[in-house]
Symmetry: C2
Amino acid sequence: MAEEKKIPYKIYLNEEEIPKQWYNVRADMKNKPAPLADPATGNPLPAEALNVVFCEELVKQELDNDTAYIDIPEEIQDFYKMYRPSPVVRAYCLEKALGTPAKIYYKFEGNNTSGSHKLNSAIVQAYYAKKQGLKGVTTETGAGQWGTALSMACAYFNLDCKVYMVKVSYEQKPFRREVMRTYGASVVPSPSMDTEVGRKINAEHPGTTGSLGCAISEAVEVAVTNPGYRYVLGSVLNQVLLHQSVIGLEAKAALDKYGVKPDIVIGCAGGGSNLGGLISPFVGEMLRGENDYRIIAVEPASCPSLTRGKFAYDFCDTGMICPIAKMYTLGSNFIPSANHAGGLRYHGMSPVVSQLYHDGLIEATSVEQTAVFEAATKFARTEGILPAPESSHAIKVAIDEAMKCKETGEEKTILFGLTGTGYFDLVAYEKFNNGVMTDYIPTDEELQASFDKLPKF
Amino acid sequence: MAEEKKIPYKIYLNEEEIPKQWYNVRADMKNKPAPLADPATGNPLPAEALNVVFCEELVKQELDNDTAYIDIPEEIQDFYKMYRPSPVVRAYCLEKALGTPAKIYYKFEGNNTSGSHKLNSAIVQAYYAKKQGLKGVTTETGAGQWGTALSMACAYFNLDCKVYMVKVSYEQKPFRREVMRTYGASVVPSPSMDTEVGRKINAEHPGTTGSLGCAISEAVEVAVTNPGYRYVLGSVLNQVLLHQSVIGLEAKAALDKYGVKPDIVIGCAGGGSNLGGLISPFVGEMLRGENDYRIIAVEPASCPSLTRGKFAYDFCDTGMICPIAKMYTLGSNFIPSANHAGGLRYHGMSPVVSQLYHDGLIEATSVEQTAVFEAATKFARTEGILPAPESSHAIKVAIDEAMKCKETGEEKTILFGLTGTGYFDLVAYEKFNNGVMTDYIPTDEELQASFDKLPKF
């Protein structure tokens, strides 16, 4: 295999090879994702209505289902150069440890201080906010990767950044909070006494430790009631997947450089930002009939929106003040168990990913937490990188597929997305190391109770 | 400045350009560093004596003052490819924020899970231990970067790894501990009840939270009393600086590629592992009369071994069971204040760095903690990377030098070593963010009291 020998451990593109345009997979989709709609009426929301919540240029991108390639502004291209291109790594050491004939590659997005791919979209959203002349942006954060990424982006553009952090995370993850503060963000434990919705929840549930849904509602309220502020979001939305296409475009360009075509592309799926970005150019080729890939979305068994959810319009937040979206959902009333992969603990799924799954272009599977940490530990010990729990869902399935190849002798090429690092997830690793990690799978009754409360449009 | 425009944000060497030999600066030094000596007699220790504590091949490297280039074993070259080459980054964004005509470059060693350059030597020491047929290695760790790096290296070579972690760090840095455990190391809070020296200290000082000197003594005791074990160390020793030369060699090769010659090379200095590695090829050119550079070692004002220490033989550990070394030292009885840059909190300095400083080839300066965190925050907000407190000492002086250029209009080229990331140092960042960080400078009397106890050889 002389040809294979030439593939380096890490494939870096040159700076000039970083994509100059994002790829909008919606342009190639026959069945477009359903539009965001009014939570009161179920009617699609026009740009003017969305402009109250989001930045105008981002609303344009959100609604644009036709333009296949959208220019990346030069300022963003420059910022990307600070931490991109990210490498595609050939997992030689993992392959050796597994004894598999499969060829495993991963696109590693964790080598920036936000610790994940979230910065790819945060910087864009901050840029358009600045360009619109805004004073600042608001957002929520749970696990903290998105909040960190947005803080970094706002520091760069000198924008005010207000992060509503789920109170339990605020208290349990003081280090995440301090990273955001170091970047100049103000971090508020949610529910707070700053907002109407926060005061209401605090009054109704004294001592509550908050939830992501509540934090979203608070962040949106602050954005729409303060002139010069808008709300920004790190996943789910079409615009976010558009920006994250940089992951897939880079990955594909790096593999193309060495004539490598993946048979299987694997990504973890919470709101869909990483998965949607990673797979977009591959799915694009499938949609255009140019090529075929097996694409697998991996979600936690504790929060299985694709594999066990309904494809329906649902609320994005618990306060029900955000637009509603048509997506695979467990119902906005579903409270995911304390799975440590905070970034995958969301009841819904990006409308784009949902539509692609509905149309049979991608598969989905769910995995349990303990098995995920076993895979994470194996990966850490062989490839040297301590993976985020979210990313480790993809690792788990990549290893499973590689082991199937070992049985069959097939030399499949596997690409997976390694979205980030686990430096702020060591409470979870500690539980695993001490053998006290538990798994949880919601019952059918539990899910049905949540489905019963889906909005009726 | 058309030529300058071409320099990318990040200069990566190709995998084939990773050094295949380490550079041993001792070969070019007219005044060799003094040899390790017997703490009982002050006489130089022969290889046979050192072989009881250290791996044989490493002892050879320790004592070799003549061979300028030493081959990097192929297995190590392969491991290096997993996380190297590390980039040389042109700090365009920092330059812009400072408004300086200076050109600032940094060699970033933090993009691996150990979070620092420590892995460069850990993997080599683990390799030689494995090759010697050992069962395992022992070491101590304070801040935890070295322990993490060694755990990763031992996981790779399937070696047992026993880390004595200063008890106060063990308790205050549970996350560092968990990273090591994830890599399969056993982490023991020091002083423990496993060793004679540990039991003695626990008996004499009930409830003590330990010290680095005590942890070293414990690790050495376990190594010399257990067949198949040796002690390994992450700094100070000649062998460590040899391995770390990969930093400087890569940095120089990357700059040479673009025809860039630094006027000033800056590194933080604790035990000297990073500084010695970064500067070695530059100092080599100075020693051979080929080129001239200004080289600055930066140490904390709270632990100023170069700027205020004595150049003398001293103990490396408090248990006084290790060989003694001739170095700039504050005396092994000096207890550094709780400066957050744990990696710089060592009473001594590498004999190689000490000799170079003594011979006037490098300068040294000391900086205070609060100013260091101001520089760290500025760097984080402009360059996107959250730096380790240790590394931020170099950032502080690089910024100072760049600001001098702003005053004089000089377009100096500055290279500094960014040794690692600060993800496990957020207690310190929190103190800084809350405005409660304090500075400490030892008094002359305090230092004199420690100097009075230096061994008399």
